[in-house]
């Protein structure tokens, strides 16, 4: 999963100095559950400050100022241990490039997709997502006892500007022919369950039998999920 946030939209103050002038970035590895727990404290906070510190070990220090009945606020700090990733490994964490997909299509309403997938989850471990360049998408499951398909029409296909003809495989394709990939249904369900707010744009790119790449755009946040196809 890849997510990008714009600093200015979330922080009043932001100060950072990367490793070097020409590599003005810091890569940190941490347990998401810790950060999520720390931020839960901050739900009714007056102010939150996040600092990178290095006392015994590198930590992300989340300081939360909470309202209190007394004259001074209550301060809660959470020290979340992090691992600073050395520069030589940074390439492992580059934003994944948009793959050479076969079909790109806008997703149906996420709420609808979520309720369909949740019901399908009870019947099968894997789900097939297929779509074509004619705005049609099907979600299919097949077991010994039952097969269920949900059809979506008129979804629309996003116009990708062709660069060096790298999208040509998509453009040559017959509009009606379906491209499919079978993925783990739980992963899809988790992705859909995690969406709290309707994104401004939601689409997916399918590489036949290889990967399904979801892109969700909110106003100031972009989320990309890559779900590999099952064998």
């Amino acid at each position: 999963m890849w997510c990008e946030l714009c600093q200015g939209n979330f922080f009043d103050e932001f100060q950072m100095e990367g490793v070097a002038a020409d590599h003005n970035e810091i890569y940190l590895e941490l347990t998401p559950e810790n950060l999520s727990r720390a931020l839960k404290t901050a739900q009714s906070a007056k102010a939150v400050k996040i600092k990178l510190t290095n006392k015994h070990c590198p930590c992300l220090k989340v300081s939360v100022e909470l309202p209190s009945l007394s004259s001074s606020s209550r301060i809660v700090t959470h020290d979340i241990p992090v691992r600073v990733i050395p520069r030589r490994l940074w390439n492992d964490f580059r934003e994944p490039s948009v793959p050479d997909f076969d079909v790109s299509i806008y997703l149906p309403a996420l709420k609808t997709m979520k309720s369909v997938v949740e019901r399908m989850k009870n019947l099968s471990h894997s789900i097939v997502i297929e779509a074509n360049l004619n705005g049609e998408m099907n979600l299919k499951i097949e077991t010994d006892l039952v097969s269920v398909t949900t059809h979506f029409k008129n979804l629309g296909n996003p116009p990708w500007a062709s660069e060096d003809g790298c999208q040509s495989s998509a453009q040559d394709r017959d509009l009606e022919s379906m491209v499919e990939a079978r993925i783990d249904i739980k992963k899809l369900q988790q992705l859909l369950a995690g969406q709290q707010v309707n994104p401004t744009k939601a689409l997916c790119n399918i590489i036949s039998k290889r990967i399904v790449h979801f892109i969700l755009l909110h106003e100031d946040v972009s989320l990309q999920y890559f779900i590999p196809a099952l064998a």
């Binding site: 810790n34 404290t41 015994h56 070990c57 209190s68 001074s72 209550r74 700090t77 020290d79 979340i80």
Partner: protein, 299 residues
């Protein structure tokens, strides 16, 4: 289980009788309900080895008192799985609560949470500057839940690390003391302090008349019998999961000690309730003999 559903009980039960049958090792709870229905529960009990520990809140160097709500709001920021927490007296009279990380090795992995409370959030603060104790958070949460439900302020008395911390709640009808072990200062290499005043209670004599009426009278007047009929049972089980709520006596217990088979460090054993009703009512039935006075001498 008997008192599990409070709303249901409030609707149907008119009176409740609690009676101890020491010879049969049974605690009898009789619920007199509407429409003439009586439900009797015979609960088997096993008497434990009694340790008579002495603790004195007066001897604790530090104490603080706060509404239960303030402390409950503070502990909510710590993860549910955290075992121990350190309470400290900091600069400016502020009080800190900090998650305790057991192993040095865990320092690099575990998230550490620290919270500061201003002195004016407390009703009373009288602490030794820079003092600090570490105790079991789970048990602390337990007594906070009870304190919040009863809407009572909680007082914490503590002394040096290693000496027990005492948490007390009081209201006109009840006094509760929770004694928790605290961790020794890791820098200090001394053994845990010898259990002060731990002694075994003498085997109680068996003249409690298995008499419903006189027991009820005794309960109502606030004087209590000390007689436990059955001989002392074998060693403490390793865990006493439930507080002995209907126990009218005030027995104290301490965690560590030289007693063999002592329960493991850092586990709390019992919650004590003392009835502070004055015994100025009708005289107790002649079969009642008080062997141990209420240590707070409330009368």
């Amino acid at each position: 289980g008997v008192f599990r559903s409070l709303p249901a009980l409030e609707k149907t039960v008119e009176r409740c009788l609690v009676l101890l049958r020491p010879r049969a090792s049974r605690l009898v709870v009789q619920l007199h309900c509407k429409y003439g229905i009586t439900r009797t529960h015979n609960l088997a009990f096993q008497e434990c080895e009694r340790l008579q520990a002495v603790f004195d809140t007066q001897r604790c160097a530090s104490s603080l008192c706060a509404p239960a709500r303030v402390l409950a709001e503070a502990v909510v920021h710590f993860p549910q799985t955290l075992a121990e927490v350190t309470l400290g007296a900091g600069p400016g009279g502020r009080i800190s609560l900090r998650s305790y990380v057991e192993d040095e090795a865990d320092l690099g992995k575990a998230m550490v949470t620290e919270l500061w409370l201003a002195p004016d959030e407390f009703q009373a603060v009288a602490v030794v500057p820079d003092s600090r104790i570490t105790f079991c958070l789970k048990e602390f949460r337990g007594i906070l839940t009870f304190a919040e439900a009863s809407n009572l302020p909680l007082t914490i008395h503590y002394d040096a690390p290693g000496r027990p911390a005492i948490f007390t709640l009081e209201d006109p009808l009840m006094e509760a003391h929770l004694v928790l072990a605290t961790l020794l200062d890791p820098e200090s290499s001394s053994q845990p302090p010898a259990a002060n005043g731990i002694s075994h209670a003498p085997a109680p004599s068996d003249d409690f008349a298995d008499d419903l009426e006189s027991y009820m009278v005794a309960m109502e007047t606030g004087s209590y019998g000390e007689d436990w009929g059955a001989p002392p049972s074998p060693t403490f089980p390793l865990r006493t999961p439930r507080p002995i709520e209907s126990d009218p006596q005030e027995e104290e217990e301490e965690e560590e000690g030289a007693v063999p088979g002592t329960p493991p460090h850092k586990k709390f054993r019992s919650l004590f309730f003392g009835s502070v009703m004055t015994s100025g009512g009708p005289s107790p039935a002649p079969s009642q003999e008080v062997l141990a006075e209420d240590s707070d001498g409330e009368c």
